[in-house]
Symmetry: C2
Subunit: 379 residues, 2 copies
């Protein structure tokens, strides 16, 4: 038994034809690889199993949330060549639950004739905040003003050019508010640059937005696209606290979001679900804050607010299936359960309007996403 | 590594207190044991994982549908003492997905201080068709006329007493129309008895019903009960083909079904979901055909027609959680996909109103339940 296999079973190829997936869809009974074993991988695995697929998780942490609902788990580094080989031998298509999967891992899988969706272009663009905003502007999608910097001096110049206060973020890595600093005065830029590790950064203009919204969109292998209704998001301490969906929004605003999603999806030649975070400005314009090339926390409301949720939608898209419906059938308030808040599960379980989604994480560290609830009301 | 463990991991006890579960509920992170690895076990495991539970499957067949979505699988006979010991060491509560689980297995688990729900009384009653109907009549619930027989002579006498045509069924085992014969004339009774294996049988009067209905009901550890709206069922060749739910039904009919469910649940001191098959007679009376002490094929519509489906409802009940809502939020037509019908998955996947549920079974034998679809319409 190879040391990275948690299943104890030799990994058997599914009933697939060798070679690339296209043009045919992946048939039920085939296996889907998921890089990453967290809650998004777990909910993707649930959706895949509902459609009759086997699931193989690649995740270095043993006993991960996703591994406990998957057919097989490869406990290995994301870029472990033996594990990637086993993944390619088992699954016909692979996806990932987080955007910081090593580009080399995706390249290795593609070289082994396994489809990876979303593809390398989407992943590379999303992994670098400067490339991401540059891509957006180049495709006619508005963002705040931004500048890159690779030295303390460049950082100070960038803040002067953009104007303080400004937000300095590492170009790569970081999530949930980690790896970023507010710069109140240009003179603080150098120190902030060093505090962020002296790595390449992006400086973003402060944004006086009215609301934070997001649009969850999907594009199939055939280029068909669909968008879910807008969600209105509330963050606390850099972490998503609450999404209300469908958000109150004019048809013009919804149309604007749909146009943005269409540009992003086409520009990335995207396959799968994408989460696009938006700032609604006082003049009605939508700016893109960032996008995540994966299912997204602000799309969890679709589990109980739509007939086909973002997880099934993503599996359908990457498997080459037709997209499912995206209309809302209920009004939902999604609330993240962070850290010890999950200990309040019994109260939520007793609310008839509340659907509970818990991730099975063993330890409730402060701020850790342990689960979420969807409070559902008729539309 | 014990030979019956498919997971390759030593089975670790969850964060449970030793001893019986009551009075407290099972906390998320705890493990639920499921005896049986088929599609019902699979869908129960999905629901359990959504609530943050680990799942341990006990099933002799390797690579079963449920094992592929479960945290651990014990590949062993249902009454294997070593496997039952491992199950009791791992899980705080156990349930089963089929009513023919050996009574000795349940008794062994109970002796090891693991809660089993539904309990031994419900299981024993459901395992014997004569005991089942005797129980029903004793609790004021109507059935067709019936008689038991243990010899060919008794069988002939029973048919004469009940009146031909009559239905002869083995008292134990049998499902989906297996283990039963129609007796057109009393003289055929002896031969039918022998053809059924010479085992104890029950002879049931033919029933000139108007419709076949079913009620899916649930009872919590605290005695709280709830019923889902009635389903109208259509069988072909003894196998369920279609359920339409909520069925068109008067309030009086719905009330009658609810009273029947309440009597059955209380009479069995039941915990969990039960499926009760009903005959609607021309005079408006409901007779019980049979009940299954488990989630039921005629309740699959609740996955897409209710906020809390029968699978989550069962997990909530056996875990000592409050029951979820049972009202319908959509009109559903559930259609079983039997044998090679599952090959039509692509057509169903393309229907926006259709939700697909596939079981991941490797081989599409004729008549085998491979999946189902729920066609959903607004109420």
């Amino acid at each position: 038994m190879p040391p990275f296999s948690e299943s104890g079973l030799p990994l058997q190829p599914g009933p697939r034809e060798p070679g690339p997936l296209e043009p045919g869809p992946l048939e039920p009974g085939g296996a889907i690889g998921i890089i990453g074993g967290g809650q998004l991988g777990r909910m993707l695995a649930d959706a895949a199993s509902r459609l009759g697929f086997d699931v193989v998780i690649l995740e270095p942490e043993p006993d991960s949330p996703a591994s406990r609902v998957a057919t097989h788990t490869l406990v290995a580094a994301y870029d472990d060549p033996v594990a990637l080989r086993a993944l390619a031998d088992t699954a016909a298509v692979a996806t990932y639950e987080f955007e910081n999967v090593p580009a080399a891992a995706v390249a290795a899988l593609v070289a082994m004739d396994i489809e990876v969706a979303p593809g390398a272009r989407a992943l590379a663009t999303a992994q670098d905040r400067f490339d991401e905003k540059t891509f957006l502007n180049a495709h006619g999608v508005g963002t705040v003003a931004f500048a890159e910097a690779s030295t303390a001096e460049e950082a100070a110049a960038a803040v002067t050019r953009i104007g303080a206060p400004a937000l300095m973020k590492t170009r790569r890595e970081g999530y949930d508010g980690k790896g970023q600093r507010w710069i109140e005065h240009a003179v603080d830029a150098g120190a902030a640059f060093e505090a962020l590790g002296g790595v390449p950064v992006i400086v973003e203009a402060a944004c006086d937005f009215v609301r934070e919204l997001s649009v969850i969109a999907v594009r199939g292998r055939d280029g068909a696209t669909a968008v879910y209704p807008l969600g209105e998001n509330h963050h606390e301490g850099g972490i998503l606290r609450r999404t209300i969906a469908p958000a109150r929004a004019s048809q013009a605003l919804a149309d604007q979001a749909e146009r943005i999603a269409a540009k992003v999806l086409a520009g990335l030649d995207y396959v799968g679900v994408i989460g696009i975070e938006l700032f609604e400005m006082a003049d009605g314009r939508l700016l893109v804050n960032e996008f995540a090339p994966r299912v997204h926390n602000t799309g969890h409301w679709t589990q109980d607010g739509c007939e086909c949720d973002q997880f099934e939608q993503h599996i359908r898209a990457i498997a080459g299936w037709p997209l499912g419906p995206t209309r809302a059938i209920a009004q939902v308030e999604m609330l993240n359960l962070l850290g010890e808040e999950v200990d309040g599960w019994a109260r939520y379980a007793a609310e008839p309007e509340t659907r509970l989604h818990l991730y099975g994480k063993r330890e409730a560290k402060p701020g850790r996403k342990m689960g979420h609830i969807n409070r559902v009301k008729p539309l």
